[in-house]
């Protein structure tokens, strides 16, 4: 504030006004952020008073009986996004390694461009395709061999239905793959060539060079990419709402239906009122807190090690 008055006294009225307007626009971001927290906190008073902290670990979902808990949905979100990041993580880092270490530079640029375009396809389109095209295909070609080998484990027990946790996790993995691949590619590309040359000069093969000189150097950046992908999977709404079945249960088999925090909000918000509406808003608040923590964690991870010679993250 003192600086503005100083600018005014010096006669730089234009400067003072411009800087003030710019500052207000910058502050609008903070207003939105704290507005979201404040507003959700106020609107969830009904369910917070009724359920307290027990809301977090209750699996009840009896709307008419007035007993609602969030654990079923936290569980659904956690399982589906962890499976998605496991699938997309290996493939994404593999692509990044291929683009930087193996592919010619031109191909690297073209594939990078295509990957960024694919990241722009709306999630509703992924969901529509996953439900109508991918689910029957998985049922015919992927599920029978999976069940033949792993059918005895509880994870793959029961018969497959199209809209299930399994299909939803695979669609999530496909959706976050461009994010994971493009950030890891940037991180791996940022590793200085001297790292590679040193290892090659010692007689290492390409894989030894990549796994022992490049990946450890870029480790934090790659972990950051995976965590950001996890955050994206956890917040993803439309594809999961269409595919996962919106069945509020603690599933034990991936072939069962389930529900995530975002899918329960999207599918039942329209007809909710009073206590149920307040509970859904509280689930939204929890989702906000979780994704916020994931994002802050990913960025701190990179920040803490920023002074060390390791990859950065662009997102």
């Amino acid at each position: 504030m003192k600086r503005f008055f100083k600018l005014f006294r010096r006669g730089n009225v234009g400067d003072a006004i411009f800087q003030l307007v710019a500052l207000l626009c910058g502050l609008s971001l903070l207003v939105i952020m704290f507005g979201i927290i404040f507003e959700l906190w106020i609107n969830t008073s009904l369910s917070r008073q009724k359920f307290g902290f027990g809301f977090l670990w209750s699996t009840a979902f009896d709307i008419n009986g007035g007993k609602i808990g969030a654990l079923t949905f936290i569980y659904g979100t956690a399982i589906s996004s962890v499976i998605a990041i496991l699938l997309a993580g290996f493939v994404g880092v593999g692509i990044a390694g291929f683009l930087v270490e193996i592919a010619p530079r031109r191909l690297n640029r073209v594939v990078g461009f295509v990957v960024e375009l694919l990241a722009a396809i709306p999630s509703i389109v992924y969901g529509f395709w996953g439900l109508i095209a991918l689910a029957p295909w998985l049922g015919t070609y992927v599920v029978p061999p999976l069940q033949a080998v792993f059918g005895w484990t509880p994870l793959f027990a029961g018969s497959y239905i199209g809209s299930s946790v399994f299909t939803a996790s695979i669609v999530l993995a496909i959706m976050i793959l461009p994010t994971v691949a493009s950030i890891s590619r940037d991180v791996i590309q940022a590793v200085p060539d001297t790292q590679r040359e040193g290892m090659i000069a010692l007689g290492a093969t390409r894989w030894e060079m990549f796994s022992r000189a490049v990946v450890p150097y870029a480790r934090n950046g790659i972990v950051g990419a995976l965590v950001l992908g996890l955050g994206r999977a956890a917040g993803e709404t439309m594809a999961v709402t269409l595919i996962m079945g919106n069945n509020a249960q603690i599933f034990t088999s991936l072939f069962q239906q389930g529900a995530t925090m975002s899918s329960v909000i999207a599918s039942s918000f329209g007809e909710a009122s009073d206590l149920f509406l307040s509970s859904l808003l509280e689930i939204g608040l929890i989702l906000f807190a979780i994704t916020f923590a994931i994002n802050v964690g990913a960025r701190l991870l990179v920040l803490v090690f920023a002074n060390e010679p390791r990859g950065g993250v662009r997102a």
């Binding site: 910058g26 692509i95 529509f128 496909i174 960025r299």
Partner: protein
């Protein structure tokens, strides 16, 4: 002699591992490209089949065949237009603030908040605006939908604007200041024009990003099977929400129109992306 053979056996093993890993990395590219290509081809084939004059002029039908998404096209243009009008000034000015005055604790904090906001699920923005605008304005309306899209656009525009303004060389700034031009005029007339192609790219990318958003519109703009030209009153249909409704329909003919809408949406978003990259050949930081 024996040590030589054992070392060459060791070498063969290392080479084998190298081959295996190289093969796996080829495989991962294949595993990624196949589903993404399958998705695009499927949407193109199903969608192009649904395109007809009626598709672009008709209204959605609840049952039976035919109908179109004209109201959704108009609604999406209105929603995205309103969101752009609101978010571009705020986002660009916030970006200017961060680039020109933001090298302090407050700037660092705003930057951090903007970064984390880009990772916030879009449905949270919808839920927030539902409580703020829908409940207080007495029902679903286009303004609420546009504001929820604005929340998603502002941080993206802010960070990309900041990035490209930082790319403008300091010497240009100093030259203008040395001529006695005030700082605000330097920023607006010298620095921003030098960075304008990058700013436009960031804005176009953010528009492309929210044009396909469904979750924040579900309980703000909602949907409708009719035209709505009123920005402050009544449910506003949009392409993404019409696709969502079609995807949940048990009627094959209704889903057919949904594929047409999905194809149209993908074409619109890819066109925006391509335009954005043609405007600015370099890479927009944070975009």
């Amino acid at each position: 002699m024996s040590s030589l053979t054992s070392s060459s056996g060791h070498y063969r093993r290392r080479k084998l591992v190298d081959r295996l890993m190289t093969g796996l990395s080829y495989a991962s590219v294949l595993v990624a490209i196949v589903p993404l290509a399958a998705l695009l081809i499927y949407v193109i084939i199903r969608g192009a089949g649904a395109w007809s004059p009626e598709f672009f002029t008709g209204l959605p039908q609840l049952f039976g065949g035919g109908g179109g998404v004209a109201n959704g096209i108009v609604g999406t243009l209105i929603l995205v237009g309103m969101a752009s009008v609101m978010s571009i000034p705020f986002g660009v000015m916030a970006g200017i603030y961060l680039a020109e005055y933001g090298d302090n604790a407050l700037g660092g904090f705003i930057r951090f908040v903007a970064d984390t906001m880009t990772g916030i699920p879009s449905i949270v923005a919808g839920v927030f605006i539902y409580g703020l605008l829908v409940l207080n304005m007495g029902g679903y309306n286009a303004l609420a939908g546009a504001v929820s899209l604005t929340i998603l656009m502002v941080p993206v525009i802010t960070r990309s604007t900041e990035g490209v303004i930082r790319l403008v060389p300091g010497s240009i700034r100093e030259a203008a200041l040395a001529l006695g031009v005030p700082r605000w005029k330097t920023t607006l007339r010298v620095v921003v024009p030098a960075a304008v192609s990058g700013i436009v790219t960031g804005v176009l990318l953010s528009i492309a990003r929210v044009a396909g958003e469904t979750a924040p519109l579900l309980f703000t703009a909602f949907s409708s099977n009719y035209f709505n030209f009123q920005p402050f009153q009544g449910a506003m249909p949009s392409l993404p929400v019409l696709i969502y409704n079609a995807a949940r329909s048990p009627t094959e003919a209704v889903r057919e129109v949904g594929w047409g809408a999905a194809f149209l949406l993908v074409v619109m978003i890819l066109a925006l992306n391509l335009t954005a990259r043609l405007v600015f050949r370099g890479r927009v930081p944070g975009g």
